[in-house]
C-alpha cells in the first residue's frame, strides 16, 4: 500500500537586531539572565511599544528572498493568552495582515509554497526546577519572524532541506545566526499521512522540540513511519502535539489537541498602521546582503569554481565574506578558494579558531597568492611563508625575509640567456631530445637550474627550453 505524506512547517527565526522588537533593550544571546530587560519587557503598566525599524527591514528582505508579496502597511494585532513566559498576557504579532504573504521557495525541483511571514515578539525563557520555575526576560521581546508554509511538502527530505535553506537565507541576509541548538531558529512541523487511495486528508499531528538540523529528517521519518504503522494496524491517529525525544530518536506524545485555543486576536491600538513606501521597501531589498543561492551562482558562473568548491565555501558565511574580500583584489579565484578550503581551514580547525580570528588579512593572502602565481616563490615555499606569517604575525615580505626566501627569477630574458648557454654546450642532449628522449629535457633544465643557483622559475624555464629546442630542430 502507498501512502501520501503531507507536511507543513512553521519556522520561528529570532533576529539579531541591536534592540528588541518593541523596546530599546539590547538583543543578546547566552547572556547573564535578566540583564537585557526594560520596563516594557516586563510589561510594567503604562509602557508602550515602539516598533524596531531594522526588524521590519529584515523581514522585508527575507520576504523578498521568499518571493512574497509585501504588504505596504504594517498592522499589528494582539494574541491574548495567559502564560508565565508572556509578560503582557498578550503577544504583539501580525494576525490579519502579515508583512509577507504568498511566496515560495524552490527546493531542488520542488516548489514549497509559503503562506505568510509575519513579525512578532519572543516570549521570556523559563527554567523549570522541581519546586520552582525561573524566568529570564532577556529573550522577552526579541524580534521574531514566523514563516509558515502551506501543507504542501510530501517528504521528510524536502522538509529538512527547506529548513536548511531558510537557515541559509536568514544567515546570509545577516538577519539571524539561525542556530537551532540555541533556539534562534525553531521549527514546528505538522505531519499527516493517508492511504494513497483515500480521499480524505489524514489527521494532523504537530511535532515540536526539534532543536537540531540533524534531527528534522530523523524525527519526520519516525513520525511518518509511526503513523503508517498505526493506520495499518487499524489504529486511529490522534490529533495531538508530540515532541521529538532526542535520546530515543522518536516522537513522544505531549498533549492532545482539543479545540484549538482561542487567542482572541484583535488590533493593537498602541501602534497605528505604518505606511511602508515603495522607496522604503525597495531600499530594504536593494541593501540586502547577497543570498546563498546568488553567491553559489556567482561563484560558479563568474569565478568558474566547481559546484563542489562552492558548497564547501558556502558552508560558512564568514568564509564567503573572506573569499569575497579576496576576490575583489585578485582574479586567482581558484587559488583563493583552494587556500581557504585546504590550508586555512586546516589551520583554523587545528587552532580551534574561526576565520574572523585569522590574523592573515584578505590583502595579505592575495599578496601571497600573487607571489606564487607570478612565480616568485614555489607552492611549497608559499606554504612555508603562510606558516611563518601565522606564527610570527608577519606580512608576506617579512616572512620571506625571515625564511631567507629570495624571489625566483622569472625574467624571460635572463632565463633565455641561461638556456642558450646550456644548449650551446650540450649538443648531444639536443640531439637526444629531438630523437624522442624526454629525459634529455630534464637534464637540460637541471643544468639551467644549477647555473642559476636554483633561482629561476622551473615552469618558465621548461617553457623557454622547449621553445629554444624547437628552434634548433633541423
Amino acid at each position: 500500500m502507498n501512502y501520501d505524506v503531507t507536511i507543513g512547517l512553521e519556522i520561528h527565526v529570532e533576529m539579531k537586531t541591536k534592540s528588541k522588537m518593541f523596546s530599546s533593550s539590547p538583543v543578546g544571546f547566552m547572556q547573564e539572565p535578566n540583564t537585557l530587560t526594560s520596563a516594557y519587557d516586563l510589561a510594567f503598566p503604562g509602557t508602550m511599544p515602539i516598533p524596531n525599524k531594522q526588524a521590519v527591514i529584515n523581514a522585508i528582505q527575507v520576504a523578498h528572498a521568499l518571493h512574497m508579496e509585501i504588504d505596504h502597511e504594517l498592522h499589528f494585532d494582539r494574541k491574548n493568552y495567559f502564560y508565565s513566559d508572556l509578560p503582557k498576557g498578550y503577544q504583539i504579532t501580525q494576525d490579519k495582515r502579515p508583512l509577507g504573504h504568498d511566496g515560495y521557495l524552490m527546493i531542488g525541483k520542488e516548489k514549497v509554497l509559503i503562506e505568510r511571514l509575519h513579525l512578532e515578539e519572543d516570549t521570556a525563557k523559563q527554567l523549570h526546577f522541581p519546586k520552582f520555575t525561573l524566568v529570564d526576560y532577556n529573550r522577552a521581546g526579541i524580534p521574531l519572524m514566523e514563516i509558515v508554509t502551506k501543507p504542501c511538502i510530501h517528504s521528510a527530505e524536502v522538509a529538512a532541506k527547506y529548513v536548511e535553506t531558510i537557515r541559509e537565507i536568514v544567515l546570509f541576509l545577516g538577519v539571524s545566526d539561525g542556530k537551532m541548538e540555541e533556539g534562534q531558529l525553531r521549527c514546528d512541523v505538522n505531519v499527516s499521512v493517508k492511504r494513497a487511495d483515500s480521499k480524505t486528508l489524514g489527521t494532523k499531528v504537530e511535532v515540536k522540540n526539534i532543536n537540531s538540523f540533524n534531527h528534522i529528517k530523523i524525527a519526520l521519518d519516525y513520525e511518518i513511519a509511526r503513523q503508517i504503522k498505526a493506520i495499518e494496524s487499524g489504529e486511529k491517529i490522534i490529533q495531538e502535539t508530540r515532541r521529538y525525544d532526542e535520546e530515543h530518536k522518536a516522537t513522544k506524545a505531549m498533549r492532545v489537541k482539543t479545540d484549538s485555543v482561542d487567542y482572541k486576536y484583535f488590533t493593537e491600538d498602541n501602534l497605528i498602521p505604518i505606511k511602508l513606501s515603495d522607496e522604503f521597501i525597495n531600499d530594504a531589498i536593494k541593501t540586502s546582503h547577497e543570498l546563498a543561492s546568488e553567491k553559489r551562482e556567482r561563484y560558479q558562473k563568474q569565478f568558474g569554481l566547481s559546484e563542489y568548491d562552492t558548497n564547501i565555501l558556502l558552508a560558512s558565511l564568514d568564509i564567503t565574506s573572506y573569499f569575497d574580500d579576496c576576490a575583489k583584489l585578485s582574479k586567482h579565484y581558484k587559488a583563493i578558494a583552494n587556500w581557504l578550503m585546504v590550508d586555512i581551514t586546516a589551520y583554523l580547525n587545528k587552532a580551534g579558531l574561526s576565520i574572523k580570528e585569522l590574523t592573515i588579512t584578505p590583502n595579505q593572502l592575495v599578496e601571497l597568492i600573487n607571489e606564487i602565481e607570478l612565480g616568485h616563490i614555489s607552492n611549497k615555499q608559499g606554504r612555508e611563508v603562510f606558516a611563518c606569517m601565522l606564527k610570527e604575525h608577519l606580512d608576506v615580505k617579512n616572512a620571506k625575509e625571515k625564511l631567507g626566501i629570495v624571489n625566483q627569477d622569472s625574467s624571460d630574458i635572463t632565463i633565455r640567456q641561461l638556456v642558450i648557454e646550456v644548449l650551446d654546450n650540450n649538443a648531444q642532449s639536443i640531439s637526444d631530445y629531438h630523437h624522442g628522449k624526454d629525459r634529455a629535457l630534464g637534464f637540460l633544465i637541471g643544468q639551467v637550474m644549477k647555473k642559476s643557483g636554483g633561482k629561476v622559475n622551473p615552469a618558465l624555464t621548461s617553457k623557454i627550453m622547449i621553445e629554444e629546442l624547437n628552434r634548433r630542430k633541423k
Partner: protein
C-alpha cells in the same frame, strides 16, 4: 483667603512677587490633605514634596508652573512613588519610570503633592470602586452624593482647593463627568496630543490623559506644557503644538456651535435645560451662531453599549499583565495557573471581574464579529456622523451630566434615554478622539453642574476660546467647595 486657593495663573503671580513660596504652598496643601474628609488620596508625597519645594527658591517668571502644587490620578506612573490604580493587585507596586506628563511637569518644577483615588483601574464612573472605597464630593459634607469618576480623587482635591490642578484620565468621560459634579474645568485633549506613555492603559484607542483646573486659562496653560509628540508613545501626534492661550480672548463672532437636538431631548431636569437655554442666549449675544442639528436617536442609543463592549473587551487584554508574577502581591502556588488565579482573584474587585468576563465573551472567536467588531464598526459610524456635523461647526455643545451629582443610593434605569444618551453621550469625544471640555455653569441644591464643549481634532485653542467666553460671562471662575460663595 489663602494663596493655595488661587488659580495657577494667580498663584504664579504671587510666587513671582514672592508673596508666597513653593514650600508654604506645599505645606498648606499637605495640611489640607491631612484635614480632608473626602477619601481622595492614595499616597501623600509628603517628604518628597517638601524636600523638592525647599529647593525652589528663585522664582521663574516665564514658567507658569514653577512651584505650583499638583496631584496625580493613581493610574499614572510616577517613579519611586507607589502607583496602584486603586486596585489591590497593584498594592506595593513602585514604578521605575515617570509618565511623560510627569517628567514634563517635573521639568517645569511643579510640585507633586499626592496620588489620588480612582475607580479601580479607571473602570467605572461612580468614584466608589477604588480599593480605598468611596471618594466623596467636597460640595456635600454629608457624604451622600457622588463626585463620580473614574478620576474621582483628582476632581475632589482640585475642588477642595488642595491643589490648583490635577492630572486625570478620560476613556469615556472620566474627567469631564466628575468635573461637572465638582464645579471644575475638566479637559481631555485630542487623542495623541498629550503622550499616554506611563498612563495605565484601559482602552488605548479611547484613553486620553487630561486634567482638572479651576479656570479655562489654566487648562490652556497646562496644555502648553503637556502637549507634544513623544518618542515613547508611537501614537502621539506629530501635529505642531500651538500656543493654546493665544485665542483665549478672541471675540466669538463667526463661531459656529452645534446643539444635537436628540441629545438635548434626552435630558429631563428642567433646571439643567433652562440653564442650557440661557447659555445659548449668552453665546448668541456674544456673536456665535448656535444651531440645532439632528443625529439619529437610535444611533445615539447605541453609544453606551458600544462603549461598554469595546472598553470591557480591550480592558481584559490591557490588564492581562497583572498576573502577580512580575509585580504586585505574589501568591505562592504549585503552578503558574494557580499563581495567576490567586493573584487575580484577590486583586480584582467583583465589578472588574464582571467586566473581564463580559469583555472576554465579546472577544471570543464565535462572538467577536457579533459583539466586539460590530461595536468597533458602530463606533466608526458614530464618528462619521459627528464628523459631518464638524464640517459646518466648531463645537458641539450640551450639558455634561443629566443633573447635579447623584446620591450614592440613587437607582438608575439603564434603559432610559436619560441614562443611555444624557448620561453617556460624552464618550463621543473618545470615539472620535476629539478635544472636549466641561466647565461649571450653575448650581442646584448647592451642588454644581457643568456643560460640555467638544471640538474638532487639534482645535484646542478654539475650544478654550469658546469655553472662556462663557466662563467670563457667567463668572464661574476658580470655584471651589472651600470658598463657596
Amino acid at each position: 483667603m489663602n494663596y493655595l486657593d488661587l488659580t495657577i495663573t494667580a498663584m504664579h503671580e504671587a510666587l513671582v512677587k514672592k508673596q508666597v513660596t513653593p514650600l508654604e504652598l506645599t505645606s498648606e496643601a499637605i495640611k489640607r490633605i491631612k484635614e480632608d474628609k473626602n477619601n481622595a488620596i492614595e499616597y501623600l508625597c509628603e517628604q518628597e514634596a517638601l524636600a523638592f519645594a525647599k529647593t525652589l527658591t528663585t522664582p521663574e517668571k516665564d514658567n507658569p508652573l514653577w512651584g505650583i502644587p499638583f496631584a496625580v490620578k493613581d493610574n499614572i506612573s510616577t517613579k519611586d512613588i507607589p502607583t496602584t490604580a486603586s486596585a489591590d493587585i497593584l498594592n506595593g507596586y513602585v514604578p521605575i519610570f515617570d509618565a511623560t506628563a510627569i517628567s514634563k511637569l517635573k521639568a517645569k518644577k511643579a510640585v507633586m503633592i499626592a496620588k489620588t483615588t480612582l475607580d479601580s483601574l479607571a473602570m467605572g464612573g461612580s468614584g466608589t470602586t477604588g480599593h480605598l472605597g468611596k471618594t466623596y464630593n467636597p460640595y456635600d459634607p454629608s457624604h451622600t452624593r457622588m463626585i463620580a469618576g473614574s478620576s474621582c480623587g483628582s476632581a475632589s482635591v482640585v475642588s477642595s482647593s488642595i491643589v490648583p490642578f490635577a492630572l486625570g484620565s478620560d476613556t469615556g468621560d472620566s474627567i469631564r463627568k466628575p468635573a461637572s459634579f465638582a464645579g471644575l474645568v475638566g479637559f481631555k485633549p485630542t487623542w495623541g496630543r498629550i503622550s499616554r506613555f506611563g498612563l495605565f492603559p484601559f482602552v488605548p484607542s479611547l484613553d486620553a490623559l487630561g486634567f482638572f483646573t479651576r479656570s479655562v486659562e489654566d487648562a490652556a496653560i497646562l496644555l502648553n506644557v503637556l502637549a507634544g509628540h513623544d518618542e515613547a508613545d508611537y501614537t502621539s501626534s506629530l501635529v505642531q503644538v500651538d500656543d493654546y492661550t493665544k485665542e483665549l480672548n478672541n471675540p466669538l463672532k463667526g463661531v459656529k456651535i452645534a446643539v444635537i437636538q436628540e441629545i438635548i431631548d434626552s435630558f429631563t431636569d428642567q433646571d439643567i435645560i433652562k440653564r442650557f437655554n440661557e447659555t445659548i442666549k449668552i453665546y448668541q449675544s456674544l456673536g456665535a451662531k448656535v444651531d440645532y442639528v439632528h443625529l439619529d436617536k437610535h444611533l445615539l442609543m447605541t453609544l453606551f453599549p458600544t462603549y461598554y463592549i469595546i472598553s470591557c473587551a480591550e480592558a481584559t487584554s490591557n490588564n492581562a499583565n497583572l498576573d502577580g508574577i512580575k509585580f504586585g502581591p505574589y501568591y505562592d502556588a504549585d503552578n503558574y495557573i494557580e499563581v495567576m488565579k490567586k493573584a487575580r482573584t484577590a486583586g480584582f474587585s467583583e465589578r472588574i471581574k464582571r467586566r473581564f468576563v463580559l469583555g472576554s465573551f465579546a472577544l471570543m472567536k464565535e462572538n467577536q464579529n457579533e459583539l466586539f467588531l460590530r461595536a468597533a464598526k458602530n463606533r466608526h459610524k458614530i464618528v462619521d456622523e459627528i464628523n459631518k456635523i464638524f464640517k459646518d461647526y466648531d463645537v458641539i455643545y450640551a450639558p455634561a451630566s443629566p443633573s447635579i451629582a447623584p446620591r450614592f443610593d440613587s437607582v438608575t434605569n439603564q434603559l432610559q434615554d436619560e441614562y443611555l444618551i444624557a448620561d453617556n453621550y460624552m464618550c463621543i469625544g473618545n470615539f472620535g478622539g476629539y478635544p472636549s471640555l466641561t466647565l461649571p455653569v450653575g448650581f442646584k441644591d448647592n451642588m454644581p453642574f457643568g456643560f460640555n464643549l467638544t471640538a474638532k481634532p487639534f482645535m484646542e485653542a478654539k475650544l478654550f476660546n469658546i469655553a472662556k467666553a462663557l466662563e467670563d460671562k457667567l463668572g464661574y471662575f476658580n470655584l471651589s467647595a472651600r470658598n463657596k460663595k
